[in-house]
């Protein structure tokens, strides 16, 4: 942890009796792209505002390059921030907006001009300096906001749902541009979003927020393959969850009994025999077959197809089994009719390596 650029230690923020951020600890390595992902009201934006100095923490420490940031007001922190609605100053031209942080730092006029020009080129808007923000499209305003936040070369760039106001197509294009800038300039970025797809696409690591706490920090693959909690399993991608109780634990694998199901699943350390767990299985890792063909009695569920949705490159089946409902995603690799139809009795099964047991915090 000695290489951490930014270190949040037990950071909390309470508004009266409401705890917005609850004991958050996470660190960011230099050059890393870290996302704060979570539903609205999960504390991710408040955490970001505390790093920027716009919100004062109730307790906890923020360290930048091992120096405490807490006593510094926002204007002495030297951290770039991109706001959700861009917050470009409407009475200043694009060039004046970008020059603002340099003026505040007493940069010489000729240098300001050169640096504004350079950063405008970087975001692909070199001729837009004399324009007013109101004369730009949403995507262009976003680029200018980005240019303004990085022109003074801050060691850390914070982005608060920067693409939330853009339409899907433009958002995907801007995601790529931000990733390219990140790679090219080696910036360290904390990126707040509620869009799990965006977080998976862009991030080196993701911190998943829920109810003011961080549920898990990890690479996109880790979060997808090894969710630590039920919330993470549910929030990142689609997932089928089976409640049950651990009946036996073996090397890297455990047996879970849930109703008349017998499940074999991978698990993270810390799962004990007798513990209440959920077994999470991704829809695209399951297989469908006629009931008679299914072998064995582990990781298998008999049910009936209640919904069939055609998605172009795949078909989504909703299977009913007793009071349980699960989703199966099947790639379409050849043209032709679906192998199964609504009302068909089927068996759903999967490999033990594709199931993971997560602790059920509500019951244990």
């Amino acid at each position: 942890m000695s290489h951490a650029l930014l270190d949040l230690r037990n950071l909390s923020k309470a508004y009266g009796s409401v705890t917005a951020v609850d004991d958050v600890s996470v660190s960011l390595a230099a050059g890393e792209f870290l996302s704060f992902l979570g539903p609205s009201g999960s504390g991710k934006t408040t955490t970001l505002a505390m790093i920027a100095g716009l919100v004062e923490p109730t307790s906890g420490e923020i360290l930048l390059n091992a120096k405490p940031l807490n006593p510094l007001p926002p204007y002495k922190r030297n951290i770039g921030m991109v706001f959700q609605n861009y917050a470009l100053f409407p009475h200043m031209t694009v060039a004046k907006n970008i020059a603002f942080p340099l003026e505040m730092r007493g940069t010489a006029a000729d240098q300001i001009e050169a640096r504004v020009g350079r950063v405008l080129t970087l975001v692909g808007l070199q001729n837009y300096g004399p324009r007013l923000p109101s004369q730009l499209s949403g995507g262009q305003q976003q680029r200018i906001a980005l240019a303004r936040a990085m022109v003074f070369e801050p060691p850390l760039l914070l982005m608060d749902e920067p693409l939330g106001a853009l339409d899907k197509k433009l958002r995907e294009q801007m995601q790529l541009e931000i990733m390219q800038l990140h790679r090219k300039l080696g910036m360290s970025i904390i990126y707040v979003t509620h869009d799990q797809e965006e977080a998976l696409t862009m991030s080196d690591r993701i911190a998943v927020f829920n109810n003011g706490k961080i549920e898990q920090v990890g690479t996109p693959a880790e979060l997808y393959e090894e969710p630590a909690t039920r919330f993470v399993a549910n929030f990142i991608g689609e997932t089928n969850l089976f409640p049950g109780k651990v009946s036996a634990v073996a090397e890297g694998c455990c047996i879970v009994a849930g109703g008349d199901l017998r499940l074999r699943a991978r698990h993270r350390s810390g799962i004990r025999s007798g513990q209440d767990v959920f077994v999470a299985v991704r829809p695209e890792r399951t297989l469908l077959s006629p009931p008679a063909h299914a072998l064995g009695d582990e990781n298998k569920l008999l049910g009936q197809i209640s919904e069939l949705i055609y998605l172009g490159k795949s078909r989504k089946y909703v299977i009913r089994s007793g009071d349980m409902q699960l989703t199966v995603l099947q790639q379409i690799t050849t043209s032709g009719e679906a192998a199964f139809n609504i009302g068909d009795a089927v068996a759903v099964h999967w490999n033990a390596e594709d199931a993971v047991a997560v602790p059920d915090l509500a019951r244990s």
Partner: protein
């Protein structure tokens, strides 16, 4: 066909009602302006002929000239003081994190709601203790109290249009709170601040009741002079001075309208180069 005819009939009616209403509102002022140029020796309409005698009388009579000067001496500092205090109050109320905001707003706005005669009597009593009756300082302070609410409400309205994100962005870009105010917030609320200033000046210039109470025979603004003139012998001097006041208010209103049109400080300044 009939539909079109009915439509034009309604339009004619609308125009007629509007014209009548405008005449009803403006006619008294027009009559005052006409009488001020009267050649008669007393108030009568229509005047038998026209002359500039009453304007000459105003500028020749030291009582009128002094009272006009007194009014200007009161109005300018009052306007500036009300502008500064009102803007600061509005900023605190909209951006500050202070308890009892509603109560403070209520107290600040009370001079608009409380009957003027009550305020006047109260000030008269207080000024007797402080020896401020009949002084410039007393007038400026009293009129500032009366005009601050107008500045507060215009500036508050402007501030509501300015996203707080701008200030936060300025802070993260390295501007201290004072610089963020001066460079970002003030230019954006300037139209509101200036119309507050103009309102304050017009209200102060127009004020009679409080001025009657705290004035003295040797220190009287133009409204008090008018009042005592009307109580004595009435001649068209009053119409001439009324016309001058009317002109002042008109100019202020025009200035305000021009300001809004050109959008001083509202982000529409500067010639723009065409897009590539």
């Amino acid at each position: 066909m009939t539909h079109a005819r009915a439509e034009s009939w309604w339009r004619a009616l609308r125009v007629l009602i509007t014209v009548l209403l405008v005449i009803f509102l403006v006619a008294p002022m027009i009559i005052v302006v006409i009488i001020s140029f009267s050649s008669a020796q007393f108030l009568m309409f229509p005047p038998p002929g026209f002359s500039m005698q009453w304007y000459r009388k105003i500028f020749a009579d030291p009582a009128w000239f002094d009272s006009l000067t007194t009014s200007i001496e009161i109005v300018v500092p009052t306007g500036l003081l009300a502008m500064i205090i009102g803007t600061a109050a509005a900023l605190g109320l909209s951006r500050g994190n202070i308890p009892g905001k509603a109560v403070i707003t209520g107290v600040l706005m009370s001079p608009i709601v409380v009957p003027v005669i009550v305020i006047a009597a109260g000030m008269f009593g207080a000024y007797r203790v402080w020896n401020l009756n009949g002084t410039l300082t007393g007038f400026i302070l009293a009129h500032t109290v009366l005009t601050v609410p107008y500045v507060v409400s215009t500036v508050l309205a402007s501030l509501q249009m300015v996203d707080e994100q701008y200030e936060k962005a300025a802070l993260t870009l390295g501007a201290s709170p004072w610089v963020a105010f001066r460079r970002i917030v003030l230019p954006l609320i300037l139209p509101g601040v200036l119309s507050g200033l103009l309102f304050a000046m017009v209200i102060s210039f127009d004020e009679l009741v409080v001025s009657l109470f705290i004035g003295s025979p040797t220190f009287r603004p133009v409204t008090v002079q008018m009042w005592s003139d009307v109580l004595g012998d009435i001649d068209p001097t009053i119409a001439a001075i009324g016309t001058l006041l009317f002109l002042f208010s008109l100019l202020v209103l025009l200035a305000e309208a021009v300001m809004r049109q050109t959008g001083i400080g509202a982000g529409r300044a500067g010639l723009l180069e065409p897009a590539p």
